[in-house]
Amino acid sequence: MFTLGPAEWQAIEVTFRLCLYTTLILLVLATPLAWWLANGRSHSRVVVQAVVALPLVLPPTVLGFYLLLALGPRGVVGKTLEDLGFHHLAFTFEGILIASVIYSMPFAVQPLTEAFKNLGRRPVEVASSLGAGALDRFRTVILPLTRGGFVVAATLTFAHTLGEFGVILMLGGSIPGETKVLSVLIYDHAEGMNYAAAHSLSLMLLIFAFVTLFVVYSITRRFRVANL
């Protein structure tokens, strides 16, 4: 059943790399953003919240389309990069990485916002009064008390990036080793009527997705009890 050729391994490698980088970047970006959403007082929070949640409701093609326009050689971003002597980002790994970061943003921001809201301001205020500076507080109070939120955010981001298809198809152009991720390869196999290969990859993804979600739900249950 599982007959994986070089093309499959390459797609697995690209996919894994994409998921990993997306997760790491998103944790770095989403943490301060989620903190602000959970604890800020500015009225612009609602706007930002809506923007972050957009990928949940927008067809991936909308995001793919605008990113293609923006990151390509004629787009604002792509053209600026070219003028600076860099390569534009459409149909590159970096391009689909940016797309994934945007597309999976709600899956990182929402669990973290929720975790930070549950945490409340009190423990941080306490740590502050006990002489802990911002990074110290993050490391010794926020992180240990919202660990569950971070695990859920990371897992969901990883899993959601794994399931990404529409945006990557539009922006990535299905280039082996660069933008041809598993979901695109499966589509390709199905279109080429190479059903055996499509089967093994699909089944693999199915099992992986199930295990991931199973882990997430076990964690959320466990942490809700432990965090009280």
Partner: protein, 357 residues
């Protein structure tokens, strides 16, 4: 030592916090007012948890907030204790206690774990998890943790509001000891006249976002219209030294010329500075020396002031032999029959006594 706070801040639709005051900081300063009057906000302003534009906070010669200068809380060395328990749930009792101690430069440490845990009676709890502590124990650990940063100032935000009466009684002596023994000035927010009477040396009265009055506890208790009387009527607080248990299980309180007998309670050891809280309605007056009567406590006093009657009852302020103020609440009829007037020596009969700290 004083703290100067100046701030204006809208709190709700109908009122704003508006302060520009110098608060003296010695012993315990009670910040008293109804809930919603802005006292917690004032406390958070002092702590630097509330960053209000244009406000200034000056502690002694340190400018904590002035113009663009803003010292964050973790650099102010303020001990904070909140209403509800705020221990860090992922740390043991010991690690909670030491969280701030470890972050305090060795040169600034004046209070050390051994003495603090002994003072608060939490030696046996050190290895426990937070969820294995009772409410009172948690609050004591919180107090200890705040003390262990050797703070310049302790801010207590209704530290007993979330505790039941029994636990309050259990923790009150520790708070009292902490105030006298640590030497750290304390600002304590409270809406309970009882707590203020027990612990405060000085009271800041707040109403609708403004500071109305700053006075000593005794000054505020000498006023017939004191807001501290709102709950249970007029109250007196007597100070004196408490002696050791004598036969029949009672302990002497105060000097021989104004001696009271207090039922023996186990906890507090003999100490030179204790407080008794006596409700005015528990005090009767007699023209003759009472004998053959079951009430044990009677003092010779002189009437100093008689307040106008309210609902046929009036409060009579008397001076004891050791020059403290004792209030008695009697009916207008009794006053007329006894022909009471200022300067008249009488006997005060005290039906019940609460030992405070």
């Amino acid at each position: 030592m004083t703290i100067h706070v100046k701030a204006r801040l809208r709190l709700g639709d109908d009122f704003e916090l508006k302060v520009d005051h110098e608060l003296p900081l010695e012993g315990v300063t009670g910040l008293f007012g109804r809930s919603g009057c802005g006292k917690t906000t004032l406390l958070r302003l002092i702590a630097g948890l509330e960053r209000v534009k244009g406000a200034s906070v000056r502690f002694g010669d340190q400018a904590w907030q002035q113009g663009r200068r803003f010292v964050p809380l973790h650099q102010r060395r303020i001990g904070l204790v909140f209403q509800e328990h705020s221990l860090l749930p992922h740390l043991s009792v010991q690690d909670n206690l030491l969280y701030g101690y470890r972050r305090t430069p060795a040169a600034l440490r004046r209070l050390h774990p051994a003495e603090v845990t002994a003072m608060l009676g939490i030696d046996d709890l050190l290895s426990r998890r937070i969820d294995q502590l009772s409410g009172g124990q948690r609050q004591r650990v919180s107090l200890g943790r705040a003390l262990l940063i050797s703070p310049q100032l302790l801010l207590l935000d209704e530290p007993m509001a979330a505790l039941d009466t029994q636990t309050k009684r259990e923790i009150m002596p520790f708070l009292g000891r902490m105030a006298t023994e640590s030497g750290v000035p304390i600002i304590m927010v409270s809406h309970s006249p009882d707590e203020i009477g027990r612990l405060a040396d000085r009271v800041v009265f707040m109403q609708a976002g403004q500071i109305q009055r700053i006075e000593t506890l005794h000054e505020s208790l000498a006023r017939p219209d004191s807001p501290l009387f709102e709950d249970s009527g007029a109250v007196s607080v007597l100070e004196g030294s408490l002696g050791d248990v004598e036969e029949d299980g009672v302990r002497p309180f105060g000097p021989p010329e104004a001696r009271l007998w207090v039922p023996s309670v186990e906890q507090p050891p003999a100490n030179h500075c204790r407080r008794l809280r006596i409700l005015a309605r528990d005090v009767s007056l007699s023209l003759v020396s009472p004998e053959h009567i079951s009430i044990q406590n009677h003092l010779q006093v002189t009437i100093e002031r008689i307040d106008p009657p309210k609902a046929n009852r009036c409060v009579v302020a008397c001076r004891t032999r050791d020059h403290q103020l004792l209030l008695a609440e009697i009916t207008s009829r009794a006053m007329r029959q006894l022909q009471l007037e200022t300067g008249k020596p009488v006997y005060a009969l005290i039906k019940s006594i609460a030992l405070l700290k």
